[in-house]
């Protein structure tokens, strides 16, 4: 399988604190990777570096073999191809659900209004929000907002979606509706990198699980290997704290 995202020797510091201390990993097309670990282990920073919301200090990130920091990759196009779903949803507050899903298509992909709207409707329908086209973010619940945010990302026809703790800001009864949308995406073969605390999702939907600890990848493997037979004491402790 071809590697879509490859990360090599990635380092990132905030001030004197080194959050990422040399990360190597890759994700193949259609693969779902769950990144787990306690808070402060660098999971979110890793995703934010892959999306270039943070500039890495060292190392390289390759997208289809091309170094996105060097090889003259068009960053707008890269961002369109590598979508991101945030913990805090970050829907555009000045737009209703429909326009949230249209803005990027029109501005970045230069699609026509008609095409953008048709696409936006299609994906809002897909995440079960087809009825809420005219609702502003402030009128939606957390789970609804996150589903619109996923539709907004899908409308850009991304190749990879990065999920940064997509259910952590949700009330427990809304977690399920978002996870089932993500599960459906995984089954359709979307390449996904998911930072999550939902071990059930990691077990059921992922092809590989990455355990991060102190800015490095401590363990990596299939869900059965990492979640079923943890090798290190640290991971065992982490997993038992999640129950």
């Amino acid at each position: 399988m071809s590697k879509v995202i490859e990360v090599e020797g990635l380092r990132k510091s905030f001030g004197s604190h080194e959050v990422l201390r040399g990360i190597d990993f890759s994700a193949a097309k259609g693969e779902v990777t769950c990144i787990i670990g306690s808070s402060g282990s660098g999971k979110s920073t890793l995703l934010r570096c892959i999306n270039l919301l943070e500039t890495p200090d060292a190392g390289c990130i390759r997208y289809h073999g091309k170094d996105i920091l060097k090889d003259g990759v068009h960053l707008g196009q890269y961002h369109a191809k590598v979508g991101m779903v945030f913990q805090q949803f970050n829907l555009f507050n000045n737009m209703d659900a429909l326009h949230n899903c249209m803005a990027g298509q029109m501005k970045v992909l230069r699609r026509s209004r008609e095409e953008s709207e048709a696409n936006a409707r299609k994906y809002l329908e897909k995440v079960g929000m087809g009825a809420y086209l005219a609702a502003k973010p402030r009128q939606l619940s957390g789970g609804q907002k996150q589903r619109v945010a996923i539709a907004r990302t899908l409308a850009m026809d991304p190749e990879v979606i990065l999920f940064d703790e997509p259910t952590s800001a949700l009330d427990p009864e809304m977690v399920g509706e978002v996870l089932s949308v993500m599960q459906a995406l995984a089954q359709e073969g979307m390449t996904m990198l998911v930072v999550t605390h939902e071990m059930g999702f990691a077990r059921a939907a992922s092809d590989q699980v990455v355990f991060m600890n102190d800015g490095v990848i401590a363990e990596r493997g299939t869900p059965d290997e990492v979640l079923g037979a943890p090798k290190s004491e640290r991971l065992r402790a982490f997993l038992s704290s999640m129950l």
């Binding site: 369109a80 945030f86 507050n93 501005k107 970045v108 009825a131 609702a135 850009m156």
Partner: protein, 261 residues
């Protein structure tokens, strides 16, 4: 000659109604165009002051932004730190004596109000931009928008909505404070009133009328601004299309409108 207060008021209104009217028109012209230009000026200044250069930016770009920021800092400090009445004198007579420009009174008035308002607006709008949640910038960048697209489609619409009450404040201040421009003979309301009052020495009655006119103007202006705010917020209700039993149903949902009065 009238003998009572109301007698004088109606006499003066008859005699000088046209003068009051043209003065009011001039006041409104100076206040609206001054506020509009000032807003544009402040917007430009605020956008420049909010530029964040990426880490890899060259030395030249860095120096340019720094210089622009310093210049804008001076502009804001000078025009916020001196009275508009003094600015009017300095700009009008300065341009005449040293630049050889014979500025039209109205043009000079609009210029003074614009640059003065711009200095305040720059800070108001900068505050508005800062108040927009950082996640909005990140989400826009994450779907590939440029800094400019992020600003124009996501951040500024929210920032401007948030600062609308302050912008309205500036407009109302300008309706009243344009009266100081009588010192450079702009034929606004106060200037016209002075000449009307001088003929019969009825200062109290004339300025009573003028006070009422100013009050009406500011009242109407604040009502108008509230209406614009409501308009920008859009409807509090929205429609859900299709219910579980009837796909063509339209259900109107009354929004909570968090944080909106």
């Amino acid at each position: 000659m009238p003998t009572t207060f109301f007698g004088w008021v109606s006499f003066l209104l008859k005699e000088y109604g046209g003068l009051f009217l043209s003065g009011t028109a001039m006041t409104l012209l100076v206040a609206t165009t001054g506020t509009a230009f000032g807003f544009a000026l402040g917007l430009l200044a605020a956008i420049v002051r909010c530029i964040e250069l990426p880490h890899g930016a060259g030395a030249f770009k860095r120096a340019l932004v720094k210089a622009a920021n310093a210049l804008l800092g001076v502009y804001v400090q000078v025009f916020r730190g001196t009275p508009m009445i003094v600015q009017a004198m300095v700009i009008y007579y300065g341009s005449m004596q040293y630049l050889g420009l014979d500025l039209d009174h109205t043009a000079a008035a609009i210029l003074v109000v614009s640059v003065n308002t711009g200095a305040y607006m720059a800070e108001i709008i900068r505050g508005g931009i800062i108040s927009v949640d950082k996640g909005q910038f990140e989400a826009a960048h994450a779907i590939g928008m440029t800094h400019w697209q992020t600003m124009t489609t996501v951040v500024l619409p929210q920032a401007i909505r948030n600062i609308l009450p302050s912008v309205g404040n500036e407009f109302i201040v300008n309706i009243k404070d344009s009266s100081v421009l009588n010192v450079i003979s702009v034929s606004e309301l106060f200037f016209q009133a002075k000449s009307a009052a001088g003929t019969y020495f009825r200062y109290f009655e004339v300025f009573f009328i003028v006070a009422v006119i100013y009050l009406v103007l500011t009242l109407v202006a604040s009502r108008l601004l509230r209406w614009v705010e409501k308009k920008m917020d859009g409807p509090e209700n929205y429609v859900i299309y299709g219910s579980q039993t009837d796909s063509r149903a339209e259900i109107v949902v009354h929004g909570e409108g968090e944080g909106d009065a």
